[in-house]
Symmetry: C2
Subunit: 642 residues, 2 copies
Amino acid sequence: MVIGPVDTSNTPFAKLRTLPLDEVSLGEGFWYRRQVVNRQASLYHGYEHLERAGNFHNLKLTTGRVGGGYRGMVFADSDVYKWLEAASYELAARPDSDLRRMAEYAIDLVEAAQGNDGYVNSYWQVVQPGRRWEDLTHGHEMYCAGHLIQAAVAYDRATGNARLLSVARRFADYIHLVFGPDKRTGTPGHPEIEMALVELYRHTAERRYMELAGCLVDRRGDGSLGPGRFGSEYFQDHVAVREASTMAGHVVRQLYLTAGVADLYLETGEQALYDALMRQWSDMSEHHLFVTGGVGSLHRGEAFGEPYVLPNESCYCETCAQIASVMWNWRMLLATGEAKFADLMELTLYNGFLSGVSLDGRGFFYVNPLQSTGVDDNSGSTRSTRPEWFDCACCPPNVMRLIGSLGHYLATRDTQGLQVHQYAPATVGFEAHSGQRALLRIETEYPWQGTVRITIDETGDDAWQLSLRVPGWAEGASIHVNGQPWNAMPVPGTYVTVNRTWRVGDTVKLDLPLASTLVQGHPRIESVRGCVAIQRGPIVYCLEQADQAPSVDVMGVEIELTGQMRDSWQPDLLDGVISVQADGYAVESRPWQGRLYRPAEKDSGIVPQPISLNAVPYYAWANRGPNAMRVWTPATRTSQIT
Amino acid sequence: MVIGPVDTSNTPFAKLRTLPLDEVSLGEGFWYRRQVVNRQASLYHGYEHLERAGNFHNLKLTTGRVGGGYRGMVFADSDVYKWLEAASYELAARPDSDLRRMAEYAIDLVEAAQGNDGYVNSYWQVVQPGRRWEDLTHGHEMYCAGHLIQAAVAYDRATGNARLLSVARRFADYIHLVFGPDKRTGTPGHPEIEMALVELYRHTAERRYMELAGCLVDRRGDGSLGPGRFGSEYFQDHVAVREASTMAGHVVRQLYLTAGVADLYLETGEQALYDALMRQWSDMSEHHLFVTGGVGSLHRGEAFGEPYVLPNESCYCETCAQIASVMWNWRMLLATGEAKFADLMELTLYNGFLSGVSLDGRGFFYVNPLQSTGVDDNSGSTRSTRPEWFDCACCPPNVMRLIGSLGHYLATRDTQGLQVHQYAPATVGFEAHSGQRALLRIETEYPWQGTVRITIDETGDDAWQLSLRVPGWAEGASIHVNGQPWNAMPVPGTYVTVNRTWRVGDTVKLDLPLASTLVQGHPRIESVRGCVAIQRGPIVYCLEQADQAPSVDVMGVEIELTGQMRDSWQPDLLDGVISVQADGYAVESRPWQGRLYRPAEKDSGIVPQPISLNAVPYYAWANRGPNAMRVWTPATRTSQIT
């Protein structure tokens, strides 16, 4: 049994099999430190806020034994479930009696809230009794059920305690009774339950859960969700799942749906689902991706928006969308074994996702812009400081469950051997195809240094393959086995495979050249035209006002395209980062005085001032108070300065 | 009585009084030629399409004397009314028995369709009998009524025939009965009737029409229109009119509303309305304006979108929005006498508006992008050729009514004298404050040449002021009276005033320097960063593929920032235009192969090829088949080319 979000041990169309969480143990390093903060700060912080915001109280209201009114969003229960799922992954990694007690308390509430028929949803039980399932478009009942199921599976896998699983199964059975084959046609306004049901099937071997997921997916595309064409696209109900060729509508909804559809494909092997997913993935990666891995251009409708329209300052890039993207890409990777999905997971994890949480684990971004004036917008939608919590608190516990389960995404196995997708200090155990057990030790300072050393600590006598992802950015990578150059050249964007009969003590060294690089965008991305971003390995950098000389306005600078870049390890900066220095210029401009257009300055007469620009990782911005920030900066060449 | 859309003869808070259309006679020139095409082609073309699309048929259905079903949009009647209004302005200018007969035919249908209680709306009468006013959000009943009223006032003013006016008054009286003070609270999902009702008041002196407009405006802001917050913003129902500080939601709705609110201010002088309008105007001009004068960034929701987000290729810039902007700015000009409103009208008329109609008057853009790949998008939303008509045909007859009434916007009077706002060959008569009549002859090749000659052909003995707008772009303008420099320097963005006792034969010559200029955008407009646009006087230019050398891809060029620009009159190009030649470069780029980001080329090794770029007025693009086009082009300096 796999402890972790996805178990493809017996999944027929999975090219790759997931590893149990207890087979992957992260060691001291980049992600380990994020997990420590998650366990020591975020989970307690989250529990407190669930208490304070009324989420637990809402569940208590269902029993009629406490007074007061329902509080928060219609889907408030899902925050509890996501928190429980996050707690489960931490409990799987190490016992923690406090955390266990908190989890049991929450489970008590959920258990008590469940009705005799299996239904549980505090909003509909308390606020709209007798009206369940009347508003599939906005009701979020199946959405909450999906999160309940995912939490229950995770808790059972982590602790062996099936109490929450029983609750979840009763609810799933009841939903099957109402919405199963030949029953009421209907599908939820917010996808999420689809992947949960497939995982419940994987965990229980009860086929009707997957069958129900299939029904819900099959029913999309008739426009019954939401009013009008605009509305149905928002809910991914404007086109049948198998006909889809673009990513459309509300980003999180779309990505949870594609993740669930990928789960269905993994179990059924249906070509039409695979083809649609591939078309949609191409659409996303070719038209809708920010350089941070973020997706979601529009605040209005929280939508993908038009192709190539990727505004830096006004983009949405909701943290939950980045999490959903990781979940979908993981399933695509399991289905195909293709490195591009793991590449995008890496890009998203280190940048668009990680910017969603503060370094202390107690602040969260809902929206992740790529540029900020450093002034918090009154509308509350664009911020340059991370709030502690939200009225709509979907993101914080979502961050917690992803960070808690990061070990799950490091490696997989197949009949040939082991694949390492993400690099972090870790020990990884797995069963090779012969049934013989192997154990590897991974040592690396990744993402700050590009050397990954792998030592075989345990192995059988039969040959097996070790496949290592060579990231798409890693031009010039090299690989050594036991100190000797290996005969396969690592090709960026693929896996390099070492196939041999291993001996204990064998070492593999992968060197990924990490150079600070200036990146440019496709000419049709109007918002980055003439600009460059700094990237070093998987880390995208930004210029934050706090790191510049006092006289420099970060919004009035240019980067020298032909300059040298210097990087240096800063142990005391932002929990320890490599910062990058680049040559640039301070450019002055006449004030604009409210105008939007004016005659161009052919020669301003002001000589641009050579300056040094200091860049820090994008994920770490906004940890030092309100602060202007930019990822993309206009580029110039020395010879261009007249 | 003023023949024209707005009559401020007796409007207490109008700084400027509108002139009767028959006092302003356009002579051969830029706008005159558009009016000829409007009269000879567009109006007949429109009538045919109204017939073909079923708009007349829908009206016939109300009498039950023809068979068949209702066709088209719920607001199909409004297309008929807009066409009637357009026909009225042409009939005011010159008799035309064919056009008169067509108009009378349409009026017959409207008259026959009207119920005994005054209600007339073919959709609700035919398709939803007995359900009128049940869906104020989407029903468009008051919207159609507004257009009926505007058409009726125009027809009565133009022809002296009050038949349609009687229909309109009966309907307005009935609406007052249902929605007047102390009656049913409700306001329409699509503003438009507000300005119509105020004009009906101006035309009939019947105060209750204005009172009703006030009720409808006062009722906004309670969120009763549309579902949820997103919905109510779309309908401008998320904030009370007097509290508004931004332009928000559906652009045409917002602009028709502000136009109506401006009309209310003009009649009531209420400061809170004025203050809100001024805040909203600043928001629009400082955050939402394209260089063409266009507004509307988002296809989805046809909305303004975020501040500074002004994408070139994916913008909306609906033709109707530009028309609505002209209507609103005209009322703001009448209220304030400030040149900035006339400046924006000019910019919008020559560019963002005029691109909405083909040179032959038989093709129309709904969406006016500032960049196009030249390939018609399958979605139908972004096009590079102008369709003959639309299922939602709001724009074509709206274009016709604005072109037909252009003379209305040229000049105004006040107690001191005459103000000339827009320049075109014309004769303008008016009554000076003393009651004495004056007649001016304006001669100009504007917008191709910047000299405006005004001759006094008739005047009384008392002194009066002649005020001439000096456009904001006209640095270095000069003015002569009877060949002598006048003692007031023309300041761009203001009016220069000549106050004297005029004699017949006196001449005033205003010289507005028309130089081809490269324009840059505010740094926060990400989509134009590093780019320039060519502007010459009020005309914004574009690079169209058809005008470049065959080897040049218009999407792969740069403009030389320090180069010379040459312009030349091209009598046979695009109905006669001044084209502009600029120095530039053809830049080659490695293919992108579906990627969105890649390491920047520090030195591509390919020397940019010096080329000559040929620009034509933006309004005239897409008259030669599908064709790539761009308004904004990356700028470079010779010395920047390494």
